[in-house]
């Protein structure tokens, strides 16, 4: 018998994941855990559609009661504050685009929950409601895309290593979203009809600028918006309020659509470009991790994805040392944004990934 910690967010996916384990894995003991990631939002600013509100804890508890499994709340406020919220804010201040869901997976769900789950609950494995699959083949644990390509979340899971993959379960990997909802309805789970969570759970109303000011005292200072030639074409409210690829909120009218091409913290400058100028074929990635532990070789072919739900593009990877690589894509890709994940696939297998670095860095 093994003991499995089911991470329950209070959403329909993790509810059904826990239900599947509780029903099918009759040999195993399932323990529901809801992670408290941050304090309560002020009244009126609670995020009804987010996974981390107190209401979500109530929903998760109700599901655990229906499934007749133990339920605990694990406080990860300190870790979440440092690893996810501060990292999110610092990412903007570095001129990068934050990737909070990936950070939450890496540091909270698969570091903190796995570590504390094993220690506190004597568990052997962690299960989540992610859409992804894990296979053991040729002596290696492999992270595979979900059966439902539309829901596949491997883009946020590339950091998992062999040790973590061996202790992780994704019960929804073979299901589609409609199947998951149907199962929730059949089990009359209170979360069956909850809408998808789309907001970032710790940013009320999507207003991250307030967070920059609160956590790092960044109020934003107006600076120039320049075009590719360095000509000033407008004024921005502070470089950290902009991310690469952004189109709206520039207040620049040049006769055709323009996008943020680069954010330069040192000079408080936002560089814009036309659509064709935003696409790139070559970029550098660091913090590289491979699910197998090591890259297949120094130079190899993959298909690469540089944002969630973007199409994969064939690319050649050239390693520079152990944790840095250069990507050369077969065709230009739209706005590789510093800070975002570049995730490598071989067919349906996720090989790993890394973080896109600034063009100048």
């Amino acid at each position: 018998m093994s003991r499995i910690v089911a991470a329950m967010s209070g959403g329909v996916d993790s509810s059904v994941a826990a239900a599947l384990l509780a029903q099918e894995a009759t040999q195993d003991e399932i323990i529901g855990v809801w992670m408290r990631t941050h304090g309560d939002m002020p009244e009126g600013l609670e995020l009804s559609r987010s996974c981390c509100s107190p209401d979500a804890a109530d929903d998760a508890r109700r599901v655990a009661q229906i499934l007749d499994i133990p339920f605990f709340i694990l406080n990860v406020e300190k870790e979440f504050g440092a690893r996810v919220i501060d990292a999110f804010v610092d990412s903007y201040l570095e001129g990068s685009t934050p990737n909070p869901c990936q950070a939450c997976n890496q540091y909270i769900k698969f570091d903190e929950l796995l570590r504390r789950g094993l220690a506190a609950y004597g568990a052997d494995a962690v299960a989540t409601g992610h859409y992804a699959r894990i296979e053991q083949r040729d002596g290696r644990w492999r992270l595979m895309r979900a059966a439902d390509a539309d829901k596949d979340q491997t883009y946020f899971l590339w950091v998992l290593d062999q040790q973590q993959l061996s202790r992780t379960r994704f019960p929804l990997g073979d299901l589609t979203k409609p199947e998951v909802r149907a199962m929730a309805e059949r089990l009359t789970l209170p979360t069956a009809h909850k809408p998808e969570s789309q907001e970032i759970c710790f940013v009320p109303l999507g207003d991250y600028r307030t967070l920059l000011e609160e956590r790092r005292g960044y109020a934003g200072e107006p600076g120039p918006i320049v075009d590719a030639d360095g000509t000033t074409v407008g004024t921005h409210t502070g470089y950290a309020h902009y991310t690469v690829g952004q189109r709206h909120g520039l207040g620049v009218a040049l006769g055709e659509a323009v996008y943020v091409r680069e954010v330069q913290p040192a000079t408080n400058t936002v560089v814009i470009g036309r659509r064709a100028e935003i696409a790139q074929r070559t970029f550098t990635v660091d913090d590289a991790r491979f699910t197998a532990g090591d890259p297949p070789s120094d130079r190899f072919d993959v298909s690469i994805r540089i944002r969630h739900r973007a199409p994969d593009v064939p690319a050649e990877i050239t390693m520079i040392g152990r944790d840095r690589f250069v990507v050369e894509t077969a065709e230009p890709v739209w706005a590789p944004a510093p800070g975002q994940g570049a995730v490598m696939y071989d067919g349906d297998e996720c090989l790993g990934g890394g973080r896109i670095v600034r063009a100048s860095g």
């Binding site: 003991r3 323990i31 809801w34 408290r36 304090g39 107190p54 804890a57 133990p70 605990f72 709340i73 694990l74 406080n75 406020e77 300190k78 870790e79 440092a82 690893r83 570091d111 903190e112 570590r115 504390r116 094993l118 220690a119 506190a120 609950y121 004597g122």
Partner: protein
Amino acid sequence: MAIYLDHAATSPLRPEVLEAMLPYLAEHHGNPSSIHASGRRARQGLDESREIIAQLIGAKPREIVFTAGGTEADNLAIKGVAWAASAKGRHVITSSVEHKAVMNTCAILSRQGFQITYLPVDRYGRVDPAELEAAITERTTLVSIMAANNEVGTLQPVAEIGAICRERKVVFHTDAVQAAAFGPPAPDAWQATLISLSAHKLGGPKGIGALYVRQGTPMVAQTNGGAQERQRRAGTENVAAAVGFAAAMQLAYGESPPNALRDWLLDALAALPGVAVTGHPTERLANSASVVIDGIEGGDLVAALDLEGVEASTGSACTTGSVEPSHVLLAIGIDEARAHGSLRLTLGRGTTQADLDRTVAIVEACVERLRASAPSMVGSA
């Protein structure tokens, strides 16, 4: 069957209490305020219960006000007296280790213009009567200091406090919700004006408590409506629960408290590496063993113990997963890091030596497992 060591949170309903209550949940259905026979029958149950409780604590029946629990009793006592005496002065003295029911009630008064003094405590959690005496001014109308602490079990010198209050003509309220589980509160020996009580800590039902109010104490009702409870607490009385409360008290005060088992448990826990007893070594609740354990998170330990069949607490019921360190542990001088590692085991009816042997072995194993896991890496990676 799990070993239940959380009697300070709530103690299971005694079978005899359930028996005593059942007629009042079924055939004796009347409203005690009704004129007819059904009403009179219900009224009889309520009156008898009030008499039993009054007699057990050495009070008059008219001095017992039934409430929905200890928290409501605290609210009624503090707000009721503070406002009734507000023409004389608006200064309330309490301690820094009170239950939230007192702490947050005082905080509300503070926002309404009252001055609140929080007396410090020594490293065991005890108030110094001399400091209380020095804190009383001519504007002071109320002193509220608990009889026994719910987290670390320390008993306060209530009789000394009461004597000072009496001499200085200040109302003395004491929350005896925990203390009253192992022997009757004593209004006269303590010279207390107001005493909060709760049924479910001594094997009665949840949802009922009482406030002892010394005859002649001016008080503003906090729940308005009908004339029940001598106009101090409106609302149809919870007759079955009152009957259960009285029955539970009678049974509880006929039992000998588990001091010896508690002492054994405290010694056994203190013998584990990195474990320190919190609260007073001897002047403490008969059933309470509380400790802080280095290198662990109390909430994680309690979850781990639960999965191994031991039901315990970090010290106070915490369901929201907040990690605010306990104000009680901070007040007795335990630093924030160690305060996170709190564990409270509270014994009750039926707790055996064998239960405690097993518990100590399980605590030791779980603590070892928790300590072996890598510490939180925030800020260092």
